[in-house]
């Protein structure tokens, strides 16, 4: 079981570092944009109501509005951290927890392939994680902001997870196997979720300015790129230490 322990310790150490880095980047880059979008949260339903009033075929606007409004109201009733330091600390905590989760997935995937040899190979593993968990899902489901219309959350989460898994598996078939049929299969796996299609909202009407959303997509993509680069490189750099500190699994780790 010491192999399990080493894998978890390695993932936790790298995840902790990358998570703190990402939380700092988010606080500087993405959270200010989220706060800006939240100022439109009250405005969105009113705009919808106004459109329904003026529109003779009110039914077309109805399905989008009720889906987003109860969710927002529900969130307001439940506990949520106070703005400022408390909100930041919970974001930091979520980042560290989430980063350790992603770190475990990256360490496990790389261990199945024999393990990461050094920071540079780790960086490449990190870029693969970035492609699977950021680029691929955001093609169908661009990072959304508060006050933007969305499809049913569960169906979006299923599509998100399935797309990340299919892209990761596809990349593994292409990169880790040197077989033409498997490479073709890998490409098909990467493309398939997008042919299936991501769940889309009934209407794209939002009071969030398009420029703000565009800025947010760039911010999310680049902060995540740094996160995955730091995560992968750290895993690659630290792996040897964890192998050296415990004698038994050295053979497996090398």
């Amino acid at each position: 079981m010491s192999y399990f322990r080493n894998v978890v310790f390695l993932a936790a150490a790298a995840g902790l570092l990358a998570g703190v880095v990402l939380a700092a980047l988010q606080t500087l880059v993405t959270v200010p944009l989220i706060l800006q979008a939240e100022t439109f949260e009250g405005a969105a339903p009113m705009q919808h109501a106004g459109m329904e009033m003026g529109d003779a075929t009110a039914e077309s606007g109805v399905p989008a509005a009720p889906e987003s409004v109860p969710a927002a109201e529900q969130a307001e009733e439940a506990w949520s951290p106070a703005d400022g330091m408390e909100r930041f600390l919970y974001t930091l905590g979520a980042n560290v927890v989430g980063a350790i989760g992603f770190s475990l997935l990256l360490v496990v995937a790389s261990e199945f392939a024999g393990g990461v040899a050094g920071w540079r190979q780790g960086l490449l593993w990190g870029l693969a994680g970035f492609a699977a968990f950021v680029i691929a899902p955001s093609l169908g489901l661009p990072p959304n902001m508060p006050a933007m219309p969305v499809a049913d959350t569960l169906s979006r989460q299923i599509w998100w997870a399935a797309t990340a898994a299919a892209t990761g598996a596809g990349l593994a078939l292409i990169i880790l196997r040197s077989s033409a049929p498997l490479a073709v299969l890998g490409l098909l796996l990467i493309i398939a979720p997008h042919i299936w299609g991501a769940p889309q909202p009934a209407s794209y009407d939002t009071s969030v300015p398009e420029g703000l959303h565009q800025q947010f997509i760039v911010a999310v993509t680049l902060t995540n790129l740094v996160f995955w680069a730091v995560l992968g490189a750290t895993i690659g750099a630290l792996r040897k230490r964890f192998a050296d500190s415990v004698p038994q699994p050295v053979r497996g780790f090398a």
Partner: protein, 59 residues
């Protein structure tokens, strides 16, 4: 690249490594899902800015 090829050649074939890796992978899926997707509203609100900033499906 030599070290890379060498390292990748040592694949996790022994069954003694399979179980720990599968368990660690399941742990990773659970932790990632909890932080990014758990529908509990207190968890959602605590991780709200994180979820939006990660591109996770959020409200």
């Amino acid at each position: 690249m030599n070290t890379a090829t060498h390292s990748l050649g040592v694949a996790a074939s022994s069954s003694s490594r399979l179980l720990p890796l599968v368990l660690a992978g399941l742990l990773g899926i659970f932790i990632t899902g909890f932080a990014g997707m758990a529908p509990i509203s207190a968890v959602h609100n605590a991780a709200h800015d994180y979820r939006h900033s990660m591109g996770f499906p959020c409200h």
